[in-house]
């Protein structure tokens, strides 16, 4: 028998509950909870599960549009993409575990987000990610990059889901807290989407998947605290992934979902059996009774506390229609997975768990699921950034370009994405390395465009502009491949919310995102918040990561960024003022990180993007690239390297070379066309600022009067940074 554990304020504190939260539990229950009950409260009321600091602000985000099928609140969001189909998607963080144990942390992050999507009845068709690491020369960075990339690949590759896009940047602010955000996109029939609200008094509650072990106990609580010294000691709270079992679970779930046996289903992610049972019961307004002796366990003598708090992976909880147990059991046994009826739905409004024949947990569902504390934390706005002042012109435009293309943030990420199977399923039309991945819908000419975006240094300097820019860049990247942007998921990564400056960043980013979502008709349908990304009082850059989904109605009219033909006119779309504040030119060439980020003019974004998309749809564009990090010349070099065609451009009269070539003004695209006259006239008719800069051709990139560099040399620089970093000895 397990020994009784004394429950008091000290234990509550150890479980991450604040004194007032513990007092509230005592009042709600009118008694002292036992260890399992306290553990359940601490998990359900953790920041990770309850969003207690962020909920107030999340309500500000626009979540509606006629095409939204499922907004936030379910395992994933869903949008109508036509033909009776929904794109089901969500992004989630696995930051804390990935820092402690990078391979397993990242792998189980992928596993978790995949489950969120197939729980909805959707077959996953693509994975994406967004990674933020510390300084390239920090002693931990190489180990973390290697482990995280291998973990993401190890899980997604085995599952047979292509990993098609992502981003990866480096900054010392992430030295103690890396960010690993994973996104999955799936396809479901709109009329066959599964949800998590339990229903039907007496219906059986079924456990399927892997067995429960002692791994990951209290992972959700760990992810709700900042790191201090000795965070490595938290390794036992990181779960271990088994993608093979998850592949079987995916196939078995989809097979059972083709019948009508399932009433509700939810994956056991953070806080495992506790959150899945409480949330399903809470959403359905019912009670739930579990017999913990029937839970398939990997280890002997597990206590109620351990079983309820375990975060063992690859598990699902389902409510079946009464009488369908045997049919469901046959499906799971074919796939060699555990299947156990572990309880039933009741009308008690309580979650009651029995262990060894005795009541081990008896809690009201409401307070656990819906009455977590809601905090209105103080916010302190980020001070306005000081203007930049005049900058000296670079000695050499060519050298500045080379520096930028080789810097870790802009360098080719081939070393990463070649470790991801990005082709399995046979529908990857545009592979990693472009503005957005394009994944064909099976058996059609239609496709989804997918991207993840955020520019944390902008968010740090001016949260509101940064939040808006992240959404706008995502929308622009989808537009640049010719897609209609439809909706986003978000993953909001911030520091300690108990610090007013951090909440100020959070609130500012949300307001910026809200404005951009409204202006661009680009609602948020799912998301995740990760706070306490902070070590010994130093937080990460505010990183509201955006994952976007758009539809390309006909693949015939999609474009990429590669310059493949000579003699195409290069047209710069959007207004160029030469904004250098917070630019990569400023950081990489001049060694400064200051100034305001580029202003975001949402009306111009909308106008410019809609016009570019119309030009692409009209077949007038051969190649298109969004202008972002590094500005115009970096974008042109990327187009040239991708397609193997050089280019020659001239600066407009009077333009300051560094501001014009490296400024990061927003709402801009560079397009290549064989019909410059027609293209310019369409742009001008729509009141979109545009100018012809030059044309494609040759084997060099030339800025008249400034530099001529061979594409081969640029490629060598661009491709060598990451392999060199990862091959460097001693790190």
């Amino acid at each position: 028998m397990a020994r009784e554990v004394r429950v008091d304020q000290a234990l509550a504190a150890e479980y991450g509950l604040k004194p007032d939260e513990y007092a509230r539990i005592l009042t709600l229950l009118g008694r002292t909870p036992n260890q399992a009950e306290l553990g359940m409260f601490s998990a359900m009321w953790s920041e990770h599960c309850s969003y207690k600091s962020s909920r107030k602000w999340l309500r500000r985000l626009p979540t509606q549009a006629p095409w939204v099928v499922q907004g936030p609140g379910e395992n994933a969001g869903a949008i109508d993409i036509g033909g009776g189909l929904a794109a089901v998607f969500k992004m989630e963080s696995h930051n804390h575990p990935s820092f402690i144990e990078p391979y397993q942390g990242a792998a189980t992050g992928v596993g978790g987000i995949l489950r969120d999507v197939f729980t909805m009845g959707a077959r996953p068709i693509a994975n994406l990610n967004a990674l933020r690491f510390g300084a390239p020369d920090h002693p931990k960075t190489k180990h973390l990059v290697g482990g995280v990339v291998a973990g993401i690949g190890g899980y997604g590759n085995c599952m047979g889901i292509p990993t098609v896009a992502g981003e990866c940047t480096f900054h010392p602010a992430y030295n103690g807290n890396i960010l690993v955000n994973a996104m999955t996109v799936g396809l479901a029939r709109i009329d066959r989407i599964f949800r998590s609200a339990a229903a039907g008094i007496g219906n059986p509650v079924v456990y399927v998947g892997s067995k429960t072990g002692r791994d990951g106990i209290h992972g959700a609580t760990m992810a709700s605290a900042e790191f201090g010294e000795g965070s490595e000691e938290k390794r036992p709270t990181v779960q271990v992934g088994d993608p093979f079992t998850e592949k079987l679970l995916l196939e078995a779930c989809l097979e059972l979902m083709a019948s009508d046996a399932i009433v509700a289903i939810q994956d056991m992610g953070a806080a495992g059996l506790t959150s899945s049972s409480c949330e399903m019961a809470g959403k359905g307004g019912v009670g739930i009774e579990l017999d913990l002796d029937r839970v398939p366990c990997r280890e002997t003598a597990m206590t109620a506390y351990e079983i309820m708090l375990s975060e063992s992976q690859e598990r699902m909880l389902m409510v079946l229609k009464a009488g369908r147990e045997d049919a469901a059991r046959r499906v799971f046994e074919k796939w060699e997975l555990d299947f156990a009826v572990i309880g039933r739905i009741t009308d008690s409004g309580k979650v009651v768990c029995r262990k060894d024949g005795k009541v081990a947990v008896d809690l009201p569902v409401g307070p656990l699921a819906d009455e977590a504390p809601l905090y209105d934390r103080p916010t302190k706005p980020t001070p306005k950034a000081k203007p930049l002042g005049k900058l000296p012109a670079p000695r050499s435009v060519g050298d500045a370009l080379k520096t930028l293309l080789a810097c870790p943030d802009l360098a080719s990420k081939r070393w990463i994405w070649e470790q991801y199977d990005h082709l399995v399923m046979g529908n990857t039309v545009q592979r990693p390395g472009g503005d957005a991945a394009v994944v064909r819908l099976p058996g059609s000419r239609k496709a989804l465009a997918l991207t993840t975006d955020c520019t944390p240094r902008y968010c740090q300097a001016e949260p509101e502009a940064g939040g808006a820019q992240a959404v706008a860049e995502c929308w622009r990247n989808l537009t640049a491949v010719g897609a209609r942007p439809l909706a986003i998921t978000d993953c909001l990564n911030f520091g300690n919310p108990e610090r007013p400056e951090i909440m100020g960043q959070f609130a500012g980013c949300i307001e910026g995102m809200r404005a951009a979502c409204l202006a661009l008709d680009f609602p948020v349908v799912s998301g995740n918040v990760s706070l306490y990304n902070e070590t010994s009082g130093r937080g990460v850059l505010p990183t509201p990561q955006i994952g976007g989904v758009g539809v390309l109605d006909d693949l015939t009219f999609g474009v990429g960024l590669a310059l493949r033909q000579p003699d195409l006119a290069l047209i710069l779309v959007g207004e160029t003022k030469g904004h250098l504040g917070q630019s990569l030119y400023l950081r990489e060439v001049l060694g400064r990180e200051d100034g305001p980020p580029p202003p975001v003019d949402l009306a111009a974004e909308r106008r410019n993007g809609d016009t570019v998309r119309a030009l692409i749809r009209a077949g007038m564009v051969e190649a298109c690239h969004d202008l972002s990090d590094g500005g115009l010349l970096v974008a042109l070099a990327e187009m040239a390297m991708a397609g193997g065609q050089g280019a020659r451009i001239a600066l407009p009269k009077g333009a300051s070379p560094h501001a014009f070539l490296f400024g990061e003004d927003q709402a801009r695209y560079l397009i290549a066309t064989s019909d410059p006259v027609g293209t310019l006239s369409v742009l001008r008719a729509k009141d979109v600022s545009a100018q012809a800069l030059g044309e494609s051709g040759g084997r060099t990139l030339t800025v008249e009067g400034h530099c001529t560099i061979s594409i081969a040399e640029l490629r060598a620089l661009h491709e060598s940074t990451l392999p060199a970093l990862m091959a460097a000895p001693g790190r």
């Binding site: 093979f244 079992t245 399995v424 046979g426």
Partner: protein
């Protein structure tokens, strides 16, 4: 051409290869679960890519002992064509239907990218629509594709013309070997050239909407030979 695609727990390119088979032959293949002891009468048996049994223990080792593999061996002995791609190739070597073994890539990392393959012979069920020395651009996506066999075995394979594809440069010359395979071998036949195992994925290079169609010739060859 009637084809059967075997599904092992953990297979993941079964639909990719089914689509390529259907595009070339006009017929949907049947799927056969690994636990079946029998395979319906077909002209071609395909072992697709994936991570059978999670690649735990050793790639293909457990799948080689699936009930269905006895039927695959019997049919192969009867002369029925068998194609194993990626994990399917690994299973065929583990099952003893093809010589050699596949070790972890020389760079010790999973690699997904297009590679150039030189067609070593057009005299086979699988390659009759190609020219000898034709260079194909076809994706690879694996962690264990480093082909090894002892020197005598390699000499024999080469001597008997049983090397189907080799990794090469875009111009067909040697010098671009992505995984360390002995003598740049990317695919081999059995003695009767009725069984082919290869690491790269021709099924992911068979549709103009998603990249090159250089792999389609393999399925066209099979469809022509097994009409």
């Amino acid at each position: 051409m009637k084809a059967a695609v075997v599904i092992f727990p953990g297979s993941n390119r079964e639909h990719d290869i089914a689509a390529a088979l259907e595009a070339s032959s006009g017929r949907k293949p049947v799927f056969v679960w690994h636990g079946e002891a029998e395979i319906p009468p077909v002209d071609l048996i395909v072992l697709p890519g994936g991570f059978s049994h999670g690649d735990y223990l050793r790639c293909g080792a457990m799948a080689a002992h699936s009930p269905v593999m006895r039927a695959v061996k019997t049919r192969a002995e009867q002369g029925v064509a068998v194609l194993g791609v990626c994990n399917g190739f690994q299973i065929l070597t583990e099952a003893g239907l093809l010589p050699g073994a596949l070790l972890v890539n020389a760079g010790r990392k999973f690699i997904c990218r297009n590679v150039n393959l030189r067609v070593e012979t057009s005299q086979s069920l699988f390659t009759n629509r190609y020219e000898r020395d034709q260079v194909l651009s076809v994706p690879m996506a694996h962690n264990e594709g480093n082909y090894v066999a002892d020197g005598d075995e390699l000499d024999r394979l080469e001597g008997e013309g049983l090397v189907a594809f080799r990794y090469c440069r875009a111009d067909g010359g040697t010098g671009d070997n992505p995984n360390g395979s002995a003598r740049d071998i990317a695919g081999v036949f059995n003695r009767s050239k009725t069984v082919l195992g290869m690491m790269p994925h021709p099924e992911n290079a068979s549709d103009p909407a998603v990249g090159s169609i250089d792999g389609k010739g393999l399925f066209d060859s099979l469809a022509a030979a097994l009409k």
